[in-house]
Amino acid sequence: MNEQQQTLLNFMWQQSDKLLVQTLQHIGLTFISLFAAVLVGLPLGILIARKKELSGAVLGVAGILQTIPSIALLGFMIPLLGIGAKPAIVALFLYALLPIIRNTYTGITSVDIAVKEAAVAMGMSKWQALFKVELPLAMSIILAGIRTATVINVGVATLASYIAAGGLGEFIFGGISLNNTNMILAGAIPAALLALLFDFLLSRVQKFTFKKVGTAMKMTPVVLLLLGALYFIPSAYGSRLTAGFTPEFMGRQDGNIGLQSKYGLNIHTVVISDAVMYKAAYENQLDIISGYSTDGRLKAYNLLVLQDDKGIFPPYYAAPIVSNKALKQFPQLEKTLNLLSNKINDSIMTDLNYRVDYLHQAPEQVAKDFLIAANLWKPKNNGNAGVVRIGSKIFGEQYILANIYSMLINGYTNYGVATKTGLGGTKICFDALVNDQIDLYPEYTGTGLLAILQAPQKSIDSLIGNKDITYHYVKKEFQRRYAIKWLEPIGFNNTYALMMRQKQAQNLRIKTISDLKHYLENN
């Protein structure tokens, strides 16, 4: 990335195309799902206000949906609906349901009984009473529900970028992965502003006097639909193959930026979380993905790593990085962690990952089995000479490594261990280490070089391709800048890689990234 300190406005200006697209997608996602939720929630609310015996069940189900963590809900959607806009809209729709159903129900049931009785006694039919009396009087409570749902949706829609549905989450999660505060803010600020803006606009609608209720009722669906349609403006392009890249990959020099500048690769790309990316490739929903070369799912899903014939992916040798402070506090720590030095090669790591990612074995079990096989296993000492805090990023390999280190420290020293696994991305993990929230975590040389040090292009060019030089460069710079020590490498190289389904790669005769580029140009 640019080594100069960019200002936020600079960044937003440079990325204004993307920002616009993401914002439109964000608004679109929010309102398509909201429209659907109103379409379903309003009649459901009316129904349960009429048949109160159903209200417990309906509100209960909608309430349970609401408590499912958003990421999990998105995850559930993938087997059913694949990736992209569909599952995101369905998930957002489910979240928006509860406030709309509940407020419609509350709104209608709280209409003065005397007024309802008067409507019936005057000779209104059920529907006349509903449209002329109950709905207009419930409207401000119903609108409050729609307002809540809108704000929830603007927030949750940031997560849509995990499953390739776009939106401002692309910047937010890209920024978190890339340690790029400007990028995070470029996504987060517009998202917050959208939430505030829609909240404000709806509060104005809510305050309409009774006279305008009719107009408001008629306008709402039109406005929702128009805003929803924004989603489709940006996606009116496409190529024969679709690539799914993680938000981190999108913004990295050794990622999409390098693919474009060095290979001139131009492919229809969606942003997606690595948790679902492999499966999406396996299920033909994506053709090219940005994976990790030691990922277990490579094996599980029969994916082929394309050769990096122009060398844009630097070596990613894994090693524990530890703060100097912790090394001083725990004198035996360095020696213990280095027990793992050069013990795990690429194929061992891929196998361990396969067991966790695909066979769903517990990382603890996999770690213990490995240590026993490598003759490193020692039972727990139950030491009490201080607690070492181990962090890990949020994917299987890091969980395994964190567990291995935890068992080594427990077995070989008299320190206790606390693990803080699943820290969202490089930035979160690294910040935790710098701010003394953890003592160590496993990091990769390439990530250290590009994402953390953000080394100048010249040094990158000279370093890339040589694993030892890269290792020494990051070791020196980390010590100098952050007082953090890189211990000895574990042995495997978990580099970035582009991958395709074996079969498709064979059919299209693609082996290298250059092949892919030619194929895209000629078809």
């Binding site: 005397a114 009785e117 019936v120 006694a121 005057m122 000779g123 209104m124 002329k132 207009p136 009774f210």
Partner: protein, 321 residues
């Protein structure tokens, strides 16, 4: 006009209304009177099908209400609620126009009818476009009455129509109610728990208790020939006032001293009730009033004491009690 025949209504295991029958003649005011929970409101609501009877039949002009579509039936029956039940999102004019609109009257006709009613009910035209919450309780109740009368239905049902009003406003509206021409042409069933109101406005009272009609008769029948101790007890507190109100000077005629004042000063008609006569005496601070009996063409001269002693004579000669 309205016939209620052997009607019962039970909610779960409780009988809210238990096999009641009564009849209301055209242009008559029937009061359903009783303590709360006696079934009077349930009875009222069965007449316009807001509540479906468990048994029995209700006929309006010989037609069974259960055999008609409820919505259509209700458009021909005016309904006034205790808490007025005005639509808070409708203006006064829109509220009054609800039933005519449901009946698809022409716009002009509706407008004409609305302003006519406003005038009859002493509401200023400036309230036409006001919302109910901008009106006083008394005004709201008048709009409620106007709404019930809008399509000029032959039958009017009123559920504690003046229950939420303060005493001053209530007696004012009572007077208006009695004076309103339009109401004189209506067959009215009114629910109240207020004994005075019942005696003042009703031609005919059904006193109810625990779902049954305890006594059905004109006010003086309830007062002087109570069917049970319940009736007596129910009327006890206001008994004296009620008696004064239900007895006319003509009833006391024989016990009043003869007078012959021909001047028109302090002259009362013999169909004035005792209460009003006493009021007149104390209010105007006069000793003697003259009463004329037009049919008999006789005159009497009465003071406070003469009236009271005549009243006791009358009571002594009552057949029962």
């Amino acid at each position: 006009m309205i016939k209620v025949q052997n009607v019962s209504k039970s909610f779960g295991n409780t009988d809210a209304v238990d096999n009641i029958s009564f009849e209301v003649r055209a242009e008559e005011n029937l009061i359903l009177l009783g303590p709360s929970g006696c079934g009077k409101t349930t009875t009222l609501k069965m007449i316009n099908s807001l509540i479906k009877p468990s048994a029995g039949t209700i006929l309006i002009n010989g037609k069974d209400v259960m055999q008609q579509p409820s919505a259509i039936l209700r458009r021909s029956i005016g309904y006034v609620l205790q808490n007025n039940g005005l639509f808070p999102h409708y203006t006064v004019a829109q509220n009054i126009a609800i039933v005519p609109q449901l009946l698809r009257w022409e716009k002009k006709r509706i407008q004409k009818r609305v302003s006519e009613l406003l005038e009859k009910l002493h509401l200023s035209a400036i309230y036409l476009h006001a919302y109910p919450h901008e009106l006083s309780g008394g005004q709201q109740q008048r709009v409620g009455l106007a709404r019930a009368l809008a399509a000029d239905p032959p039958v009017l049902l009123m559920d504690e129509p003046f229950g939420a009003l303060d005493n001053v406003t209530r007696s004012k509206i009572h007077d208006e109610f009695k004076a309103l021409d339009e109401l004189k042409r209506k067959t009215i069933i009114m629910v109240t728990h207020d004994v005075q109101e019942a005696f003042e406005l009703g031609h005919h009272i059904c006193l109810m208790d625990k779902g049954v009609i305890v006594q059905d008769g004109v006010p003086s029948e309830l007062l002087f020939r109570p069917a049970s101790t319940f009736v007596k007890e129910f009327l006890k507190e206001q008994r004296l006032q009620l008696e004064f109100r239900s007895i006319q000077l003509a009833d006391l005629w024989d016990w009043l001293p003869i007078g012959n004042n021909q001047s028109k000063i302090n002259m009362l008609s013999a169909d004035t009730d005792l209460w009003t006569s006493l009021e007149r005496l104390t209010f105007n601070e006069i000793e003697i009033m003259y009463v004329v009996h037009h049919q008999k063409n006789e005159f009497k001269a009465v003071g406070f004491e003469q009236l009271m002693s005549a009243f006791y004579q009358y009571k002594k000669n009552m057949p029962h009690e």
